[in-house]
């Protein structure tokens, strides 16, 4: 399967599981889908047969509400049966509303409380340095999350301790629950902010798999931590969800559900 096909199927599965769950966060899951598809399909050294492999690459979904994207990627890579995706958010399911590292194989960190993930990724990167391991640590942050002060504490820490094995993505979809990030809390200019904190910064199209691949390759040559600012579309792939904040935390029902699945099924062979 190509990474393009993996990403397309990932999108379909995200919305399919969210419709079945009846609640959750489609918008931010779809905006991060290509980044997550690339990392899990093509980039990361991970092993479904040995999820706790010590020298594996690590992944921290700082914006934990995009859990559906992570769950689908893990299931598609064989970390657990695809049927489990249907249990999202149900009582007793390992697929919690936000990722739980103790309930599901392949989750490197429990996340969900915004602002906390990057610090944890710093700790993972530091541990790799201490152990002389060559693995990378990937983190995906939201743009609304940039308002959390702890993000910038972590930004300072990573640069201070020269964590060049830390590669973060900023899923810049421009929307947060209460509206546009510009209106709610303007964190721009983010490229300059991260650069001034000592990070290597790239700005890319977050839905261009080739651009994501090249950005990661470049990040790996840096002597500092890397921030890849990925310009994305919230709700990407579903016409009525795109750039519409109403789909941050609401799932489609009835005809809208059918329409969303029909749009996403194109080019997906299941």
């Amino acid at each position: 399967m190509t990474t393009e096909a993996f990403a397309a199927e990932l999108r379909f599965r995200i919305i399919d599981m969210l419709i079945k769950a009846g609640s959750g966060h489609p918008g931010g899951s779809l905006s991060a889908a290509d980044i997550i598809a690339y990392l899990f399909k093509e980039e990361m050294n991970i092993n479904p047969q040995n999820p706790a492999m010590p020298d594996r690459d690590r992944f921290v979904l700082c914006k934990g509400h995009a859990a559906p994207a992570l769950y689908c990627a893990l299931a598609m890579r064989g970390f657990f049966p695809l049927e489990k995706l249907d249990t999202l958010r149900k009582l007793g399911s390992p697929l919690q509303g936000h990722p739980d590292m103790n309930k599901l194989p392949g989750i490197d960190m429990s996340t969900g409380s915004l602002g906390q993930g990057l610090s944890v990724a710093c700790g993972m990167a530091l541990a790799a340095k201490l152990d002389g391991q060559a693995n990378s640590v990937y983190a995906v942050l939201g743009d609304g999350e940039q308002a959390e002060g702890q993000v910038w504490e972590a930004a300072m820490f990573a640069a201070h301790y020269k964590l060049d094995n830390l590669i973060a993505f900023l899923d810049l979809n421009g929307l947060q629950i209460d509206g546009s990030t510009h209106d709610v809390m303007d964190s721009s200019p983010l490229d300059n902010k991260w650069r001034s904190f000592g990070w290597a910064v790239q700005v890319i199209d977050g839905h261009d798999l080739k651009a994501i691949k090249e950005a990661v390759a470049k990040a790996k040559t840096e002597k500092t931590p890397s921030m890849i600012i990925a310009k994305t579309v919230k709700g990407k792939g579903v016409s009525f969800m795109e750039n519409n904040v109403d789909w941050h935390g609401a799932t489609p029902k009835g005809e809208q559900a059918e329409l969303a699945l029909a749009e996403l099924r194109k080019g997906v062979s299941l």
Binding site: M109, G123, M124, L130, D131, E153, A154, Y161
Partner: protein
Amino acid sequence: MSEKIATRDAYGKALVELGKENSNVVVLDADLSHSTKTIKFAEAFPERFFNAGIAEANMTGVAAGLATAGKIPFISSFAIFAAGRAFEQIRNSIVYPHLNVTVAASHAGVTVGEDGGSHQAIEDIGLMRLLPGMTVIVPADAIETAGAVRALAAYNGPAYLRLGRLAVPQVNCQDYQFQIGKAKVLKDGDAVAIFACGLMVSKALEAAEKLAAEGISAAVINVSTIKPLDQDTVIAYAKKCGAVVTAEEHNIIGGLGSAVAEVLAENCPTKMARVGIEDIFGQSGTPAELLEFYGLTAENIAQKAKNLLK
């Protein structure tokens, strides 16, 4: 009486010993290493010490990340910042995923002294005790601190270790073996049981002497593990004595007194009095003045015991 030692000093020393034995032990501090005494570890093992700067939230998360990779982090700051500022980071990044991190918080309670109420954590035991799966330990002296550090390094899970600024007397024997979750009877008695933690253990022993002089037989139990509480010992001594006094350098709400009351209320309702900070904030003063002002004294413990027996 042997020399008085602050539990924070014992902590710094114990970390160095631990560091020699276990290369996975790492220590983080938030710009207070000279006060929390992690500086001793920093000097001995600079490659395994990380100053996070004045950023407790991030320090807490970094420790969580280190723990996911098999490191054994001890993180330190003043209790007010370690448990207070970073509370939700402890909750969601460390305790919710049950990661192996010890939050070793110094300068707990009013004996911080002159820095005043803003820096005197009187609610940290309560905050930490509320977290499912958290272990909460308040050592009474240097011997117990060393034992607790060793025990926590061997234990796999989140823990809060509450340390003090003030030098305190030794109350445990040299051969005392600290065990997580095990209270220690320091003096037996049958008229009143005094459950104490931290620096109030030595005050409890003084109180027992005063009571003995008046013909009252008081047991003194060092309850250094607040969670998981040694319920068997608490219930056994409540039944044996029929009257209970708790003593802690903490708000009487939420700490040791609450933990003991919860267990007794459900298992063997017992006459009880709590000695602690009576739900007010601290203030500037010398540690001795503050202990006196807030009633954290042997006299107050003894008086509360006598009131129960009237």
